[in-house]
Amino acid sequence: MPDWEKSSTARVIPPARPRKLAKVPFVELADGRLQGVVSSGSDIGRVYVSSVAAGAYTFACSTNNNRPCGGARGSFCHHILALINEAVLQYGAERVARYLRVEIAAGEPSTQAIIAGMSATPPPQGHTGAAAPVFSRFLRHLAYLELAPTTAPLPEMQWFPPTPVVA
């Protein structure tokens, strides 16, 4: 077996990069989609659940109460553009492009190149059925903040260091 496969400390998930959470409080590459939660630009009490599927780039955007987003008709709305932008900040353009299976025509992958790559043919609009599970994943992440604090050592976290390890 190659060394990486024989290493207990092999890095499987690259560390997330820091980013501001006000506009896009939640973004993840999971379930075959880039998906997340985007704050409404006009109403502080409203959020949109947005997603783009890997491969086909099927997109969907709706409020968490399942009202469709007015901007997501025929092409990506600005919530989805903000989602892609923040995903690139968190994961890096290369990993986002690879996950969504976007062909980058030339040069380095970037937010613009990823959006251009997905918009070359108009992406299909999907149904908003995924909004509920995505939103519940967001709530699950929020629930970490509600766990009772304890000062007991948690050595298991050494399995998942927040900084890159030297292979």
Binding site: M1, P2, W4, E5, K6, S7, S8, T9, A10, V12, I13, L29, A30, D31, G32, R140, A143, Y144, L147, A148, T150, A152, L154, P155, E156, M157, W159, F160
Partner: protein, 215 residues
């Protein structure tokens, strides 16, 4: 080489370069078992049966011998949780022996006290899963955890799917609020997150076999 501390003892670097009898065999048995988990135990192929036998042979001279031998035999499709626990115990025992052998070598080379002289009480693993009040451990949650891990062992790293991986979500959510279970919940949560990133895994993609088997 003279060590930096005031004792002025000599470090025997030559001892570090020596080979340890059986070390390669022990690690080969672990590697063989780790390869078994890549494809899973649901429908084991002959190569996997051989890997299980290799692990069983590695603990043949220990008190685990009969249970692991039985588990290696039964693992062909009909393995239950007890069998998986026996195999996991065998893997842990073999890696523990590797650890001890390496520590003995380091101790001999440096002349410093080994961990045994510091005292086994430092290792707190025995406390995991017991409530702070000394009450019974959350047996049903631990049982559910073993059940999920057994399902992973059956499917193998190549057979992962989103449903199987996300099967741990409820369990982790139930375990995290209990400080006594938080250490185990952290491991399960982090492990499941890694599996979710990797699945569905394409045949050509590399698998962190040692790490996932450890976890």
């Amino acid at each position: 080489m003279v060590s930096a501390d005031s004792c002025g003892g000599l470090m025997r670097a030559d001892l570090l370069a020596g080979t340890i009898a059986g070390l390669d065999d022990a690690l080969a048995a672990v590697d063989a078992f780790d390869r078994v988990l890549v494809a899973g135990l649901f429908r084991p192929q002959p190569a996997q049966a051989a890997g299980l036998t290799q692990l069983a042979h590695a603990v043949a001279g220990t008190p685990l011998a009969s249970r692991v031998a039985e588990a290696a035999e039964k693992a062909a499709g009909a393995a239950g949780e007890d069998h998986f626990v026996a195999l996991a115990a065998a893997r842990t025992a073999v890696l523990g022996s590797v650890h001890d052998a390496l520590m003995t070598q380091v101790t001999a080379a440096t002349g410093r006290p080994g961990p045994a002289e510091i005292g086994p009480a430092e290792i707190g693993a025995a406390e995991i899963g017991t409530s702070p009040g000394g009450g019974p451990p959350a047996a049903n949650l631990l049982q559910a955890g073993r059940c999920w891990l057994s399902d992973l062992a059956r499917s193998g790293w190549r057979g992962l799917d989103h449903d199987l991986v996300s099967g741990s979500a409820q369990l982790v959510s139930a375990m995290l609020p209990d400080p006594a279970l938080r250490r185990l919940a952290t491991l399960l949560d982090g492990f499941a997150a890694e599996l979710a990133v990797a699945c569905p895994s394409a045949a050509g993609e590399r698998i962190p076999a040692r790490r996932w088997a450890d976890l």
